[in-house]
């Protein structure tokens, strides 16, 4: 039998079939945020919106806690989480910091520490 189990990489949730199954409805909700009227409906009543999209209680709690790593563990895909983050005005450095336990400035500094080819002026 083909061995398709992916090697574990610390700090990374591989978004595979198992996670896609677990997170399907959560991701479907976030996918709906491509439309402004849906973003507004979520802002107006997040609990009702999450229920409409059949989120599990654990997923709802992760949303209430704004715990992005937990959302990933519960099957969230970063592509759709980006749309969720957009509702709060969080860009990729903001959520990068949230997920890696840094402030946004610390996260930016971490990125810059590995940088090359940019003089920043």
């Amino acid at each position: 039998m083909t061995n398709y189990k992916m090697k574990d990489i610390e700090g990374t949730v591989h978004f595979d079939g198992e996670m896609a199954t677990k997170g399907f409805y959560f991701n479907k909700m976030c996918y709906s945020f491509n439309h402004e009227e849906n973003r507004q409906a979520f802002r107006d009543d997040p609990e009702a919106y999450m229920t409409k999209y059949k989120l599990s209680e654990e997923q709802k709690q992760a949303v209430r806690d704004q715990d992005i790593n937990r959302m990933l563990e519960l099957g969230g895909s970063i592509y759709y989480l980006a749309k969720f983050a957009g509702i709060f005005g969080w860009n990729m450095q903001v959520i990068g910091g949230m997920m890696s336990g840094r402030t946004t400035e610390e996260f930016q500094a971490y990125l810059d520490s590995q940088g090359r080819g940019k003089n920043n002026g």
Partner: protein, 280 residues
């Protein structure tokens, strides 16, 4: 017959599109990145390609998990862009080239590749940011575009060797299309970056530059890595090198690297840009 005149690799980071919207190209943060684009635009203006075959990955504008193609080819006369949820400004529609699209589809299926065929898809920043970078101020309206997407979101994803072979088959299809058209190839995305999880923010300049060297001289060498090994080396979204491999696969034989730029980080990503010219 149709002729491939060159291949361009470029990032498709949303932040670059936003920076262009806001006219920030000369700001210190962006200056070194944008420096490479005017010479590439000059090359495009001189060579005047008729068609751009554009490899990208959809980030959840059109292709949700409910129906997610591994490889998909646009066969539409026009492709719309739309709100992606986090603030990048949509751009007017992109013009398609249905004759060549169908020719590629027929050729691929005849040669044992079976992509999803899309007659009505929206294209996201993966396609629109590169088009805007290379043909600014909506001048991309003057070129016909064939968007070809590769799944880079949900594992399993095509093996790197498969993306390279997919490109080879598309290159063969372009070369046997009986219209005198000039085709430019765009491999978008990459290089090292990881957007998700506690490991978010990892970059790998050394590996990126090795990949850029190998895209020129020996793309098969990149295929020694599995997707999970690419993730380990360059972060979860390093897998976007699939589009570079497909682009490079289209070109037969050796290439001359006419231009190169490497700037990291822009947003969370290492940006590699190359202009490759077929030698024969």
């Amino acid at each position: 017959m149709a002729k491939i005149i060159g291949g361009i690799t470029t990032a498709h980071i949303p932040a670059i599109g936003v920076a262009m919207d806001k006219g920030l190209e000369n700001e210190p943060y962006y200056r070194d990145l944008f420096a490479i684009y005017p010479p590439i635009r000059e090359w495009l203006a001189e060579e005047k390609p008729d068609i751009a075959v554009l490899f990208y990955n959809d980030h959840g504008l059109e292709m949700f998990l409910d129906k997610k193609p591994t490889f998909a080819i646009g066969c539409a006369p026009e492709y719309e862009n739309a709100d992606e949820g986090w603030g990048i400004k949509p751009i007017p529609p992109v013009t398609g080239e249905t004759d060549l699209s169908w020719h590629i589809v027929n050729h691929l299926i005849e040669n044992d590749f079976d992509p999803t065929v899309c007659q009505d898809i929206k294209v996201d920043h993966g396609a629109t940011v590169p088009l805007t970078l290379l043909w600014p101020n909506f001048t991309y309206k003057g070129i016909k575009v064939i968007p070809i997407s590769i799944n880079c979101e949900r594992h399993p994803m095509p093996k790197p060797s498969r993306s390279l072979a997919f490109g080879k088959a598309i290159g063969d299809a372009i070369r046997c299309w009986d219209k005198d058209s000039k085709v430019v190839l765009l491999g978008t995305g990459g290089l090292s970056h990881q957007l998700d999880g506690p490991r978010a923010g990892i970059l790998n300049a050394e590996f990126d530059n090795w990949c850029m060297d190998k895209i020129v001289s020996d793309p098969e060498a990149i295929c020694q890595y599995s997707n999970v090994e690419l993730v380990e080396k360059g972060g979860a979204q390093m897998v976007e090198i699939a589009m570079w491999l497909a682009m490079r696969g289209c070109i037969e034989g050796e290439v001359e690297e006419r231009m190169r730029n490497y700037v990291s980080p822009i947003s969370n990503t290492a940006v590699g840009v190359q202009l490759l010219i077929p030698k024969d």
